[in-house]
């Protein structure tokens, strides 16, 4: 480029202006997308809660408790009907997935048994790990109605009671890890 000479001043000013304009544009887009992003995440969360607890008439996302576990946060949403607790949805995570972290929403009955489990977000392999989702296979159905107090939440290969997804052992193990984490934290909270 035979244009601007590469003097120190020119380089300084150019880099400053380019980064300044970039920062400005990014700040603008961030503000514009902040609300849609917040709404999308809230919608996903509410849909996940609805799919794992029985019918409720309160607003679980407003009755939220947090707990700091294993380097990240778990969220507990209480679902009530006619004033009685019908279930607790626990937003849990695992970082042992094949492609890193993924999040589950586990619904527990007041007595600690699992109602249902939904996948909130993940990056597992399509066709393999993503079979943990309800719409891809029946993998998650085996957890319904089980009480982790007497249902071993590890895959059969590791001596547990869970049938892993064929050729997706890592994802299956991570899934169990997330559910176990949710159950342990819930029990700890109840004990307090």
């Amino acid at each position: 480029m035979d244009k601007k000479e590469s003097t120190f001043l020119n380089m300084l000013v150019t880099l400053f202006l380019v980064t300044l304009m970039a920062a400005g544009m990014l700040g603008g887009v961030y503000s514009l997308t902040k609300e849609p992003i917040r709404l999308t995440e809230l919608k996903r969360k509410n849909e996940a809660i609805q799919s794992v607890v029985p019918a409720f008439d309160n607003e679980p996302s407003r009755e939220m408790e947090k707990r700091y576990v294993d380097g990240d946060t778990l969220y507990f949403y209480t679902a009530r009907k006619d004033g009685n607790v019908v279930g607790t949805a626990v937003e849990t995570f695992t970082d042992q997935g094949f492609s890193g972290t993924f999040k589950l929403m586990v619904g527990f009955r007041p007595d600690g048994t699992i109602i249902d489990i939904a996948v909130i977000s993940h990056a597992e392999t399509p066709g393999l790990g993503d079979k943990m989702k309800k719409d891809k296979s029946g993998f998650s159905e085996q957890f319904a109605g089980k009480d982790p107090a007497n249902f071993d939440l590890s895959v059969r290969k590791d001596g547990g009671d869970v049938d892993a997804i064929t050729a997706a052992t890592i994802t299956s193990r991570a899934y169990c890890d997330a559910v176990q984490r949710a159950y342990d934290a819930l029990k700890e909270m109840e004990g307090e």
């Binding site: 480029m1 601007k4 997308t33 992003i37 999308t40 990056a123």
Partner: protein, 195 residues
């Protein structure tokens, strides 16, 4: 410049994936389904077109010695825009593409076109180049994604076509290389036929 030739070169003659072999990391990494390939291709095309446009606009104002940092800042900014927009309006695709979205910044295709073309050509030519290369990249990724999805999951754009298992290998890394290899062979045959 013949703008038609400029545009169409991105599809076979100078296709990023089949001829230039640029941007192979996301190519191999996200194409486990056709939809993922298509989504990544569109995101990359947006970044490519916008960065080519901006680089060409300010090409006379950037001192030579700082051109690479300037290009990277510009590219990274547009990638962040794509990331934010996807997060808010296409969360399913955002989750599926995951870590590969920020990796568009280091997609050699984007920096390569900025350096080799946009910094040396008119704004209009750079725009056309960005569109052509980007759409060619999108086509390559969608085709590869479709092939791997059909062979590896027995599905096409999410629609399952067979009952039971398909050839799992194709949705795993080795299958990506194998499928890509055969597609390059096909592209080479096509190139010889048209020259």
């Amino acid at each position: 410049m013949n703008q038609w030739k400029n545009f169409s070169k991105g599809f076979i003659r100078e296709n990023a994936v089949f001829t230039l072999f640029l941007g192979l990391c996301p190519t191999l990494g996200v194409t486990t389904t056709a939809v993922n390939g298509l989504g990544m291709g569109i995101a990359t095309t947006f970044v490519l077109v916008m960065s080519n446009l901006v680089v060409s606009l300010i090409k006379n104002l950037i001192p030579n010695k700082v051109r690479i940092p300037c290009f990277i800042v510009i590219i990274a900014s547009f990638v962040t825009v794509v990331e934010l927009v996807m997060k808010g309006y296409a969360p399913v695709l955002f989750d599926a593409l995951g870590i590969f979205i920020p990796l568009i910044v280091v997609n050699c295709l984007v920096l390569g076109r900025a350096e080799a073309f946009a910094s040396k050509n008119t704004i209009w030519s750079s725009l056309v180049d960005g569109m052509g290369m980007g759409l060619g990249f999108t086509m390559a990724l969608t085709v590869l994604g479709a092939v791997r999805e059909i062979l590896g999951s027995g599905a096409f754009f999410g629609l399952k076509m067979i009952s039971g298992e398909a050839m799992l290998l194709f949705i795993l890394p080795p299958g990506a290389f194998i499928a890509l290899g055969y597609l390059i062979l096909l592209a080479n045959i096509l190139k010889e036929k048209t020259t």
